[in-house]
């Protein structure tokens, strides 16, 4: 693989990660917290209606997890394509 092909493959993989992680980002907030809130509110966990919980708690936990997963994936990818920093 030439250097240019390698860089292309690296960027493509990065975009793939972004697509997956941003879909999850969309689902936990706009999906569960806004669009599907009424349906999810029929389910209860303790005192929380599930849709309400996603809007005020769950989405935020989801965001934190998404960023750390991204950090982990990208650190691995950087090493694999040898573009990591020391």
């Amino acid at each position: 693989m030439t250097q240019e092909d390698k860089m292309k493959a690296y960027w493509k993989q990065n975009l793939k990660y972004l697509a997956v992680l941003l879909s999850i980002w969309f689902i936990v907030s706009y999906g569960f917290g806004i669009l599907l809130v009424d349906q999810l509110n029929a389910i209860r966990i303790g005192g929380f209606k599930l849709g309400f919980w996603f809007a005020q708690q769950g989405s935020i936990y989801g965001f934190v997890v998404i960023i750390f997963v991204y950090v982990w994936l990208m650190n691995k990818l950087d090493k694999k394509f040898d573009v990591h920093e020391d």
Binding site: M7, Y10, W11, N14, L18, L21, L22, W25, S29, Y30, G33, I34, L35, V37, D38, N41, I45, G46, G47, F48, K49, F52, W53, A55, Q56, Q57, S59, I60, Y61, F63, V64, I66, I67, F68, Y70, V71, M74, N75, D78, V83, H84, E85
Partner: protein, 564 residues
């Protein structure tokens, strides 16, 4: 000891720490002044970003706002945290690799145009000033309530302090004072929250108590109790909303994109040594922010329950002491319309007798829960830390715009390092004075313009930066026309529907049923479309610019910072 003595002691100690840090971290070079030498550890930068980001509004107003909005308050929670995902995934690492000092730097270089640079400078200054005025006012208000000095004296004290560490230490001083300020503000926020959670639900974690049962032995869930109270009094149920889905969607997105496009937040990611540190520190920042943001809705629900239980149908003659204390400040107003001597707190405006300012939900919380005086003093110190840390970050953006983006990059490129540093300090000093002026003479539209700041950032910077990284074909014509169109559209909508210019209008006239708070989403889409169309109809960017775009996509080779 009384509350005031405690407040003097705790605020005094916290201020001495900030000043001590400022003296220790004096800036020696423009790189120190603009990006703290580029050597801040990702953990420290996460703390500083959290303090930078969480303003007086987050600390003082947000929980109260949510307690009055119920489910609808989720737009702020999701909007102001979800933006960090966009920052970490789409902006921070690439801007760090680009490795300059400011957002206009990126816009100007990427779009090879000083017009683009100037548009970015103007946007940065408008966004930052609208924001900072509210912060200085917040400092004044906290001083006035807890130390019983006039609001203006409070603003002067706040100005003096920010002046000292922003002018002396620049980004380096600001970074390390923000680290200290985060510690103060989160401690001050969590102590009363935990106490109240234990009192009300028996749980040590407010986030758990929020969904738990009441500690009164009834076995009823807190949120069910609250929904029941709301139904009785005619309010819409706490856990369901009253805004349209379209509007909730638009507001959430505008706040997210606005967060990711705010220059004082973005610039924090220029201060870490490596690209991987920029990613990681966005993660840390969100963890530190999430501690407060997941607690706020719990406080909102606790405070709402406590409030209704205490005041609803209670005889006015036997209200608790905090009620009378806050009545004196004018933040609680009672008018006995039916002369029965009892407080009717209901949704129907004709019958309702009680008006409550949302800000007291956090400020009066420790008193409502009968917590010791030192906790109340701690809340004052926390509110000040939140306001000062955000003000300092904003002032730095304004001063850098002047010394770096205007003078160094456009007016006098041959300026010496020393000369530029002097201009940076002059800029910071001037910005403090202007901010102080707005704090003392707040323009009537401050509340409206804070929402405007997000809409403006979302409709101008956010698309220009994203396209600059992900669309190699994007050129200067596209980016400039997109930014100008986006920001003008946003300004027009806000002026028309928020401030009633251009013939004004009611919520019935809103485009697509979207409120001015959410319109940033529409203006941002307009920006993206216009940028795309114009760029495809004009010449592609020069070869060397396309190489810049290539290079920012890969981490290796980011300019090194020096550790301190």
């Amino acid at each position: 000891m009384d509350i005031q003595t405690w407040t003097y002691i705790i605020v005094g100690i916290s201020f001495s720490i900030y000043i001590g840090i400022a003296i220790w971290s004096k800036a020696g070079s423009t790189k120190d002044f603009y990006v703290a030498g580029g050597g801040v550890s990702p953990f420290a930068n996460g703390l500083a970003t959290a303090a930078d980001w969480m303003s007086a509004a987050s600390f003082i107003s947000m929980a109260g706002l949510i307690s009055f909005m119920g489910y609808d308050g989720g737009v702020y929670l999701m909007g102001w945290t979800g933006g960090y995902v966009l920052l970490a995934l789409l902006l921070a690492p690439y801007l760090r690799k680009f490795g300059k000092f400011t957002v206009p730097d990126f816009i100007g270089d990427r779009y090879y145009s000083n017009v683009a640079r100037t548009v970015a400078v103007v946007c940065a200054i408008i966004v930052s000033f609208t924001y900072v005025a509210g912060q200085m006012r917040g400092v004044g208000v906290v001083f006035a309530r807890f130390l019983e000095v006039p609001i203006n004296t409070g603003v002067y004290i706040g100005m003096g302090l920010v002046f000292f560490y922003a002018v002396l230490g620049g980004m380096k001083g600001i970074t390390y004072t923000q680290v200290a300020q985060y510690c103060v503000l989160i401690f001050a926020y969590m102590v009363p929250a935990i106490f109240i959670s234990i009192q009300l639900t028996g749980s040590y974690f407010p986030q758990v108590g929020f969904g738990g049962t009441l500690a009164d032995g009834s076995g009823t869930f807190l949120l069910d109790k609250l929904d029941g109270l709301h139904r009785e009094l005619g309010f819409s149920e706490y856990t369901s909303g009253s805004k349209s889905v379209m509007d909730v969607f638009a507001i959430t997105f505008a706040l997210m994109a606005g967060t990711a496009g705010l220059p004082h937040v973005i610039v924090r990611f220029f201060t870490v040594p490596r690209v991987k540190d920029a990613r990681l520190s966005a993660g840390y920042a969100l963890v530190f922010i999430a501690i407060l943001y997941t607690t706020a809705p719990a406080i909102g629900a606790f405070a709402r329950t406590n409030l209704i239980n205490t005041v609803s149908n209670a005889p006015y003659s036997s209200v608790p002491e905090w009620f009378s204390n806050w009545e004196e400040t004018g933040l609680i107003k009672f008018e006995d319309k039916n002369k029965d001597g009892k407080i009717q707190y209901v949704a129907d405006k004709e019958v309702n007798e009680l008006t409550i300012d949302q800000d007291i939900m956090v400020l009066a919380n420790p008193e409502i829960a009968k917590l010791p005086n030192w906790v109340i003093a701690l809340v004052a110190a926390g509110g000040l830390a939140a306001a000062l840390s955000t003000a300092a970050g904003l002032l730095l953006v304004i001063s850098t715009s002047l010394s770096h983006d205007l003078i160094k990059k456009q007016i006098n490129p041959d300026i010496t390092e020393k000369g530029e540093l002097i201009w940076a300090r002059i800029g910071a000093a001037a910005a403090v004075l202007v901010a102080g002026y707005f704090g003392i003479n707040p323009p009537g539209f401050v509340a409206a313009t804070v929402a405007l700041a997000f809409g403006l950032a979302a409709s101008s910077f956010f698309p220009a930066i994203i396209l600059g990284i992900f669309d190699k074909r994007m050129n200067r014509q596209g980016a400039i026309s997109g930014m100008v169109a986006g920001i003008l559209l946003m300004l027009f909508y806000m002026l028309k529907y928020k401030l009633q210019y251009f013939g004004g209008g009611t919520p019935d006239d809103w485009w697509f049923g979207i409120s001015p708070e959410g319109f940033g989403t529409v203006a941002m889409i307009a920006n993206l479309l216009i940028s795309f169309v114009v760029s495809r109809a004009t010449a592609p960017p020069p070869e060397n610019v396309q190489e810049i775009v290539e290079s920012i996509r890969f981490p290796r080779g980011a300019g090194k910072g020096h550790m301190h």
